[in-house]
């Protein structure tokens, strides 16, 4: 898929390969590459999942693999957690004596 010049995208880089990482780190860390993600505007039309270059909001030029176009924020308030309601009942009951909510 071609992504047009000027699109806001997210790049990924492997900064260090597993064998380049310090041996003093835990195994689960040294077995995997050290990666970075940067966002910016494409300087030219580029292919998704191929190398691409962006200019970041501070004006730096960065090259990496084009992973995502117009990245969205994916964090939320999460799923319902019944344990929170249980804590809430305990707290209200213990302070006001009318726990059922």
């Amino acid at each position: 898929m071609l992504v047009k010049k000027g699109a806001f995208v997210r790049l990924r880089n492997h900064l260090l390969l597993p064998e380049e990482r310090s041996k003093s780190l835990p195994e689960s860390t040294t077995q995997v590459p050290y990666k970075s993600w940067t966002k910016g505007f494409l300087v030219e039309e580029s292919e998704l999942y191929e190398n691409a270059t962006v200019v970041t909001v501070t004006g730096r030029k960065v090259t990496g693999v084009l992973k995502e176009v117009e990245p969205r924020y994916k964090h939320t308030f999460g799923d319902y957690v019944p344990e929170i309601h249980r804590m809430r009942s305990v707290i209200l009951e213990e302070v006001w004596g009318d726990g059922d909510v």
Binding site: L25, S28, V32, Y34
Partner: protein, 472 residues
């Protein structure tokens, strides 16, 4: 242009030059012969007076946050206290600062300094509230800003709290560079300082710490004016040590020399901070023992040659508390006081809840911070995330919690419990790195100041440390 790679050997060889150019301070001006340096000179002569700090912060909508009595929380405490006990709990609502946390106090001074020295931008390495603070202050001063954060594990799963911080930084116009797990973050940080020539807005520079002195000062003076005395205790959530250090210095500055300074951290013993596997098995990304202990024992492991955050100079007691209790108290703060805050910033509140039970009812304990909350950084998304990582959520004895395996909530407020850490043991760990040095008198004087101990106490701890090594 090639792929963006980092060359650790090259960066390591130029480390001191890069740092020197980026902090606007020549740390060699403060070094002694031997192991020590002149900490007071570093803090007092590196740029700003206390009054200047105050006025810089005021112009940036930082500081003078509300100090509120948590009356319902105190009522809760007294349910479990013996007659005549149950101290009054006050909270300094630091969420009211620009960007939503006390970190704005630190960023205000760092970014002001950067602007004054003519830097075009600022960089900070942080996954926490400090990033948002630096980004917000940089926006206010018209400076560019880059925030570097450790965010994802190797399966590209991020801590929800850190994603929220990234969003906040970007909302203030900063560039955010997100990294996978590993201490190599430091080299990415160096690389960026070198590439951009921006200012290193370190949490550990004198600016990063003197910005918090106003917090301690405000607490002391406000309580004194309203209650006719200084508080008996001030409790600080402790990670890198700057929060506690600056607060304690501010209390001293206000002459509240009898106020006890207490540290509190979430207990994450057993989880390795550089482990890709462990990274997403914790529910707190700051305020925990994984930072609190190493930074207390070795403050100069930071991103400047000499850290201005030196908690063992000021900390009188240090407690840990489990994750489940902090979540419980976070919920209590919301439903009893109408304050949706935290969770990490509520670590010290959870400890205060327990300690207040043993204090007299006319005594005052001040919890010196709160932080904003929102999508990602709130107990619901964090617990929901933990469940998805197969962390068991249980009700029981909080002391049975095993970080990374389960989270144990207390069944009652009465069950919230804390671990009191052995300060001598922590101080011995600090001393261990000097066991093989030939220490002269000035070195020993420095160590006594570092650990806030007498020469006799120093001798005893050093002998014990030597003895423990032989046994091993």
């Amino acid at each position: 242009m090639g792929m963006f790679k980092i060359n650790i050997h090259d960066l390591e060889s130029r480390k001191s030059e890069i740092i020197k150019n980026s902090v606007g301070l020549d740390y060699s001006d403060y070094e002694y012969e031997g192991i020590g340096f002149d900490y007071d000179k570093l803090m007092n002569e590196s740029g700003f007076t206390f009054d200047e700090v105050k006025s810089i912060q005021k112009e940036s909508m930082v500081g003078n946050t509300p100090l509120i009595e948590l009356k319902n929380m105190t009522r809760y405490v007294r349910k479990f206290s013996q007659k005549g006990h149950g101290a009054r709990i006050f909270l300094k609502d630091e969420a009211g600062n620009l960007s939503g946390s006390f970190k704005a106090r630190r960023a205000a001074i760092s970014v002001y300094k950067a602007k004054k020295m003519g830097y075009k931008g600022v960089i900070a390495a942080t996954s926490g509230n400090y990033g948002a603070a630096v980004a917000a202050l940089a926006a206010k001063h018209g400076l560019k800003c880059i925030i570097v954060q450790e965010c994802f594990d190797s399966k590209n799963v991020a801590q929800p709290e850190i994603l929220e911080k990234a969003r906040a930084c970007e909302a203030y116009g900063a560039e955010v560079i997100q990294l996978s797990v590993g201490p190599e973050l430091f080299y990415t940080f160096l690389h960026l300082l070198d590439e951009t020539g921006y200012f290193n807005a370190s949490l550990y520079s004198p600016y990063g710490v003197m910005g918090i002195e106003t917090l301690g000062h405000e607490i002391a003076t406000e309580i004194k004016v309203n209650e006719g005395k200084f508080p008996e205790a001030v409790i600080c959530t402790n990670a890198g040590g700057g929060n506690l250090t600056g607060t304690a210095r501010g209390l001293q500055n206000a002459k509240a020399t009898k106020t006890k300074v207490i540290g509190a951290s979430v207990d994450l013993y057993g989880l390795h901070m550089a482990s890709d596997d462990d990274f997403n098995r914790k529910s707190f990304t700051t305020g925990h023992t994984g930072f609190g202990i190493p930074f207390a024992v070795n403050p100069d492991r930071s991103d400047v040659p000499r850290s201005a955050a030196r908690p063992l100079r000021y900390m009188q007691e240090y407690y840990t508390v489990n994750q489940g209790s902090v979540f419980f108290i976070t919920e209590a703060l919301a439903v009893l006081e109408g304050l949706e805050r935290g969770p990490a910033g509520n670590t010290s509140l959870a400890v205060a809840f327990k300690l207040a039970q043993t204090m007299k009812e006319d005594e005052i304990i001040v919890v010196q911070e709160s932080e904003y909350t929102g999508a990602g950084k709130h107990h619901q998304p964090q617990l929901s995330f933990a469940k998805n990582k197969n962390i068991e959520l249980l009700f029981g004895n909080p002391m049975d919690e095993k970080a990374g395996e389960n989270i144990v909530f207390p069944k009652s407020g009465q069950d919230i419990d804390v671990n009191k850490l052995d300060m001598d043991k922590i101080k011995k760990s600090y001393l261990k790195k000097y066991m093989d040095n030939k220490l002269e008198n000035p070195d020993i004087e420095f160590l006594c100041k570092e650990l806030n101990i007498t020469q006799e106490h120093y001798k005893k701890l050093m002998e014990e440390a030597q003895h423990e090594r032989k046994k091993r």
